[in-house]
């Protein structure tokens, strides 16, 4: 029983997209632009040449925020979306009726339709692949060359992520919506 979360030292991201590839490979995510569990967002450089605002450009890796108060879980009519024992937000493919309500309710555009099962899919923190095999890292974290990602148990005060969140300033996305994301962006 853990409460898994992830801290992202996003300023270290170099937009190599190794995490996107690792995620697809590890979790068998379908090919295609629309079919992705994680992504790297690019904020373009602002200003007109030659007055470019270099610091305005950032790379922002993102994915399902595994909200503690997840709108997707609330709106699901059949409890197909649920919290597993580790507080990871998961989708039960047997129960999902593909009403797509969760896709509309998720403020983070974290969900898509898996064409093989015709149900909704999203990031699982590698719960049914790596974690099940007893590993303690996610595929995206493991592959990241600049070590942007730290994954771990937020309830364990001695975990690396707890230590990071205690010592570094951080923010979460669309915090005003009260979804209580478990993805933290370190500043």
């Amino acid at each position: 029983m853990a409460r898994y979360g992830m801290a992202l030292d996003y300023k270290n991201c170099i937009n190599c997209k190794a995490c996107e590839v690792a995620c697809k490979e590890e979790n068998g995510v379908l090919l295609g632009a629309d079919k992705h569990r994680i992504w790297v967002g690019v904020k373009e450089i602002e200003g007109e040449y030659p007055l470019l605002d270099i610091v305005s450009s950032t790379f922002m890796p993102s994915q399902c925020q595994h909200c503690d108060d997840a709108p997707c879980e609330m709106v699901c009519p059949t409890h197909a979306t649920y919290y597993d024992d580790n507080n990871v937000v998961r989708v039960d493919v047997d129960k999902c009726i593909l009403c797509s309500y969760c896709m509309n309710a998720c403020p983070y555009d974290a969900r898509y339709v898996d064409d093989r099962t015709m149900t909704v899919d999203k990031c699982t923190f590698c719960s049914d692949t790596r974690l099940e095999r007893g590993e303690v890292t996610t595929a995206c974290q493991n592959t990241c060359p600049t070590k942007v990602r730290t994954f771990g148990d937020l309830d364990d005060p001695d975990s690396e992520i707890s230590e990071l969140l205690r010592t570094r300033e951080h923010f979460s996305l669309k915090a005003n919506l009260g979804t209580k994301p478990k993805l933290f962006y370190l500043t």
Binding site: V40, S62, T78, I97, L98, C99, S100, D109, L177
Partner: protein, 402 residues
């Protein structure tokens, strides 16, 4: 003993025995012929559309990750709004006892049954796994889900409407009133829950809030009155008796009030959306104001009907029949806009350069399969209604109330 009673109850429901030949034995006027061709082609489209869907699944639709709800959701809403509206109109006479409106009760209640059946048919091809839905709706109900409440309450509502209709056929007005009132209350609850499916979307500031759950009830009543005009127009071939005229004028006056309230609602919704420039809301509202589908809704469903009613306080019944046709087209746009506008604004999450430049606005245009299934739903609705007019006596009974 009880089974005997139920058997007797069912076998004594007054129905006319009709065969296929009776169904084809309509007066061969040009109008009827055109209608028959339209219904048959729509039904053929339903068959083709469903066949394509069964072969290709959701790939046959133009729904995407960013725009997961498409035309079929809008058409489903269109039908269930019509159903709720007809239920309200039907209840005026047989539940609330307004004598003038009793003559449409049975017809309206039957209309509410066929429209919701058409709606269920359309949604069955939008929900990815309808059978799974029926199982897990009961086995693991998501009580915090507006879709769960909406679907479950609509199922109950349909049951009550059918029972009410049977009592109306049997001319048992007391029982019809009980079931009618229960059905109406459950229907209104279901319908406002459908509004809350959108109202609860915190992620979508343009739809979030109390507006849709209340607005759905108002627009349902308006839709019901439009359809009442259309049903009566077809029933009496636009040649209304004095009694029908009195009723239609009454309905037209109610309609004028309702449309005025609607215009008031929509104006203030737009103003509050834009005022202060709140991100994700103001720019979406301004974008909506620039779309032709919004103006189609305003002109066809609000301006034209209201103007024509107010011109002589609802006395030109034939003109109002045509105004109601315009109104229904407008109501269709209203439903389409509601669904599309909710999803207009990308949730982005800084995905500005991922694989492709993210669109500033999400684009969507229904695929031919979606259009075929939607028109097919309309064809099915018309066909069921036509069969109903043959099998049941939908006119007001003249015998004494039991």
């Amino acid at each position: 003993m009880n089974i005997e009673k139920i058997k007797e109850f069912i076998t004594t429901i007054p129905v006319n025995k009709v065969c296929a030949r009776d169904l084809m034995a309509f007066e061969k006027t040009p109008r009827n012929n055109i209608l028959a061709v339209v219904i048959f082609s729509f039904l053929a489209m339903l068959v083709v559309g469903v066949a394509i869907y069964l072969g290709q699944g959701h790939h046959a639709y133009n729904v995407t990750r960013e725009h997961p709800w498409g035309l079929l959701i809008a058409v489903y809403i269109f039908f269930v709004v019509s159903s709720t509206g007809l239920c309200i109109v039907g209840s005026l006479g047989d539940v609330f006892g307004f004598k003038d409106y009793e003559l449409i009760s049975k017809r309206a209640i039957f209309g509410s049954i066929v429209t919701i059946l058409a709606g269920f048919t359309v949604i069955a091809f939008e929900i990815g796994h309808p059978i799974t839905m029926m199982i897990y709706n009961i086995a693991s109900p998501g009580l915090t889900s507006a879709i769960w409440w909406m679907g479950t309450l609509y199922g109950l509502y349909l049951t009550f409407m059918v029972i009410e209709f049977i009592f109306l056929l049997k001319h048992d007005m007391k029982m019809a009133r009980y079931f009618g009132l229960t059905g109406l209350l459950v229907g209104l609850a279901a319908h406002s829950n459908l509004g809350s499916v959108f109202g609860f979307l915190n992620a979508r500031p343009i739809s979030n809030g109390v507006f849709y759950p209340t607005y759905f009830i108002l627009t349902a009543f308006i839709t019901g009155i439009f359809i009442a005009f259309i049903l009566m127009g077809f029933r009496y071939k636009l040649d209304f008796s004095e009694k029908v005229k009195t009723m239609l004028t009454g309905l037209a006056k109610i309609q004028a009030l309702l449309i005025s309230i609607l215009i008031f609602f929509v104006t203030w919704k737009m103003l509050t959306d834009i005022y202060g420039g709140m991100p994700n809301r103001a720019e979406v509202a301004i974008h909506i104001l620039g779309s032709w589908t919004f103006w189609a809704e305003v002109i066809l469903a609000m301006v034209i009907p209201l103007y024509l009613i107010l011109k002589d306080m609802g006395k030109s019944h034939v003109i109002l029949f045509w105004a109601s046709m315009s109104g229904m087209v407008g109501i269709f746009f209203m439903r389409y806009n509601l669904v599309h506008d909710t999803q207009l604004k990308p949730l982005q999450m800084l995905k500005t350069r991922e694989y492709q430049v993210a669109p500033e606005w999400i684009h969507y245009f229904p695929s031919s399969t979606e259009i075929m299934i939607s028109l097919g739903g309309l064809g099915l609705c018309m066909a069921m209604y036509y069969v109903g007019t043959k099998v049941f006596n939908l006119d007001e009974d003249t015998k004494e109330v039991k």
